[in-house]
């Protein structure tokens, strides 16, 4: 059955069985990825996916059912209605009706126009140029790849909503392994929607990142002033994103509960969620609500949580167009569009001078385990460099950085001008410039 045939039958069945309304969120993709190692195609993948999530409204409650097999509409409707029947939440769960969408600019994705041969050629170049970049690069590892995909999304419902989008999302990953003496280190660089001209920069960055890891050792345990590099800062903020979600706030799972209008960060910190950014815009969110830009933190003051339709109705405000689904199969939740700390004025190098003595943190790992978005606590393995008199003097590894997110937000002394986005760009993403932070507790020697 085609998508539209299946959709129409689902809608008809759902309404016949007493649903107040029904909605499908469908997404299909076609993708390609290739890895060249030792000058030959090592991994080659052709991808085609298609999934449909049915949401029904019964007595004000949502029930969901997802399938990749467009065969048995009765069964899917039955599962969705069954699931709506057990919902006990008294929150009203509305759906978006017909609406107009803002014009958004076309995004260029140069690799999207490449044919397969050109993509393979690019993957070859990726390996060759990485090996040639520095004599210490001994090989590339298996994440070294060129990836393209086109994703079509449809959100249609019985209230007249018809939101459709098509996105071309390509990315390259550079994954060199460097050796010097007995030591080996892996680099990682990526770029979403790259043009071929961006490739040398990605290679340079991935190799330079790995070079920073040689001859590293821990520092003494203690409190340090740190300069958190932009990519590490973006990863950290992404991990605490749920604190800003109205869903977490309403459930009492965010320490920002009750703090609207209060100062929760240093005055130099502002956070916005901006769906209109030119390199990753969207016209609507995960439930078809027209995009809007939201000030989340303004000069240190908490200005707004992020809402979908359900949580907005509960707080008596308008949705901030932040409905999101972690996957097509997931129920509607809350997700960022382009959520980021706005840029300050100083460059990374200027802030390094300002740091004087302390640590540059270039990488935080174990974010899925070593931090808790409910308590705000984190204790994470870190890498970086020891800085004395404004200059990096040696590399540092095998240390942990520990603190609390809310304390850290207050302790930000300056915000850099170099916004960087966390890996996973394309749909929702989180970004940050580098951050100069008064203190974190470091455990090392």
């Amino acid at each position: 059955m085609t998508f539209s045939e299946f959709r129409d039958i689902l809608f008809k069945l759902a309404l016949e069985k007493g649903c107040e309304s029904a909605e499908v969120y469908a997404s299909s993709s076609e993708g390609f990825s290739v890895t060249v190692l030792d000058s030959e195609i090592n991994k080659y993948s052709v991808e085609q996916t298609n999934g449909l999530n049915l949401r029904v409204l019964v007595n004000g409650r949502n029930g969901y059912a997802y399938t990749e097999v467009f065969e048995d509409p009765e069964e899917l409707v039955r599962h969705a209605i069954d699931n709506a029947a057990v919902i006990e939440s008294t929150d009203v769960m509305p759906m978006q009706g017909a609406c107009e969408y803002p014009e958004i600019p076309d995004v260029t994705d140069p690799l999207g126009a490449f044919d397969e041969k050109e993509k393979i050629e690019l993957a070859r170049r990726l390996e060759k140029d990485t090996l040639a970049f520095d004599s210490r690069v001994t090989r590339c590892d298996q994440y070294n790849s060129v990836n393209t995909s086109v994703i079509k999304t449809h959100i249609h419902n019985t209230l007249g909503l018809a939101a459709d989008s098509e996105q071309s999302i390509s990315y390259v990953i550079v994954n060199p392994i460097l050796r010097e003496g007995e030591e080996e280190h892996m680099g990682f660089g990526f770029k979403f929607r790259p043009s071929p001209d961006d490739i040398p920069g990605v290679i340079k960055e991935s190799v330079e990142n790995a070079l920073l890891e040689f001859n590293a050792s821990p520092v003494d345990s203690g409190e340090y002033r740190i300069l958190l590099r932009n990519d590490a800062a973006a990863d950290l903020i992404a991990s605490f994103f749920s604190m800003f979600s109205a869903e977490s706030v309403q459930k009492g799972l965010s320490l920002l509960n009750g703090k609207l209008g209060e100062t929760i960060a240093a005055p130099c910190v502002s956070i916005v969620d901006d769906p209109f950014l030119a390199d990753n815009p969207r016209a609507f969110d995960g439930e078809g609500v027209p995009s809007e830009k939201t000030d989340v933190i303004k000069d240190g003051v908490l200005a707004s949580y992020l809402y979908n339709l359900k949580t907005a109705l509960k707080d008596g405000v308008k949705s901030t167009s932040n409905a999101g689904r972690p996957s097509v199969a997931s129920p509607v939740g809350i997700a960022p569009s382009n959520f980021y700390i706005t840029a300050g004025e100083k460059s990374f190098d200027e802030l390094k001078k300002e740091l004087g003595s302390g640590l540059i943190i270039t990488e935080l790992s174990g974010l899925h385990a070593g931090l808790n978005p409910v308590s705000g606590d984190f204790s994470l393995i870190a890498k970086g460099q020891l800085v004395e008199n404004g200059e990096a003097v040696r590399s540092v590894d095998q240390i942990t950085c520990a603190g609390n997110f809310l304390t850290l937000m207050h302790d930000i002394e300056a915000v850099g001008n170099d916004i960087r986005w966390s890996f996973g760009g394309g749909f929702g993403r989180v970004g940050s410039p580098c951050l100069l932070i008064k203190k974190v507790v470091v455990s090392g020697k």
Partner: protein, 463 residues
Amino acid sequence: MVKSSIVSAVLDEALKTGGDFSELYLQDTESNSMRMINGVVETANYEREAGAGVRVLKGTKSAYAYSVDTSEAALIACARAAASAFNGMKDFEAKSICVDRIGRSWAKQPFAEIGNSDRVELLRRATEAAKNQSDEITQTIAAYMDFDHRTWVYNSEGLHAEDRRPRTRLAVQAVAMANGEAQTGSVSPGYGVGFEAYKDKIDVEAVGREAAKTAVTMLHAPECPAGKVPVVIDGGFGGVILHEACVHGLEATSVGRGSSVFCGKLGQQIASPIVNAVDDGTLPGEWGSMHFDDEGNPAQRNLLIENGILKTYLVDRLGSRLMDHPMTGSSRRENYTYAPTSRMTNTFFAPGSDDEEEMIRTMGEGLFAAKMGGGSVNPLTGEFNFAVSEAYWVRDGKILCPVRGATLIGKGAEVLMKIDRIGRRMWMAPGMCGSLSGSIPTNVGQPRIRVSEIVVGGKGGAL
């Protein structure tokens, strides 16, 4: 699931450009999930994920194409797409199917026979138990999930293997709050069986109580001091240290291309002589078990480390070609959107002979990690990190007080040599492991162990 004539046509088409091995994988998974927050059912979801993938190997090169569409035309198209990675002449014929392997579900009470009300009742019982544990429990999140995961593998060597792997898990997170601070505790048991798990294997109320106890204990705990000290890690999920610090580095995904600290170490001492470690996918009804792996090979019990000596790596078909090492029944993938690769199943330190109390009594000053959170590792360098979700500071061999916010970091190869005690009672706990072929269910396990020194990260001062 697919007619044998179609299977042959697909496997043959895939070999047309010179591949020496082809494989068709089909998957059909039904799952149900439900979340109860603060005693109220918030979401209920049903998912059916189904599709197919065709893989072609030529020496150590691989191509994979997958599709949600499993019609004959789509499968042939996948075969062509995968074959298009190579440009040689046909060299190998696909053999007709001559081996049939069928794995039967371990479920006594299949999920299709369970109603949503049964699922709600479980969540309610676990939630009530958590809330009744203490007045300081302010929030609870209880989540339930079940999966009926079915797979079919056919390959050009004439193999047909089907498997059916049920699994279910109950996860409770309790939050304790006071004075603007929040601490959490989580417990989340899971098994590779049907709904009978909640009668036979899982004490539902205890899950809620345990989660609540940890949250309350941590709410009143000072911050963990930082430093390098002896650490005792309790059994069960403590085995995540073996999973991260060692066995990821034994997977062919890292060893095959020389990207592991354990490369070239077969037959060598890589751990203290009291260490024995096992990866066993055959244990009936365990979270990480299967009858056949995702290349159709029977699951195996692999003795990884014997008396500290490295005995084997975990190797899939492609890895066996790269490493000239036998396959170990370790090939796994999340679903049809991933080509299979070497992964863990149920991985644990085997029981030792040390007294569980003695190892704390004689440790001097250090940390007792009673419950571990998750962690991760860089297999190239062996650098690992783990969160400790419930920990106690030990002074003069006695528990002084609980401490919060502890993290353990180190290098796998070093920490394995520093294990100086292994207790007698081993148990396992489930987790989800993410790697090249997606997110898969794996068990970790161990008896209580002691490591003579390890870097503990925390933000506290002297206690």
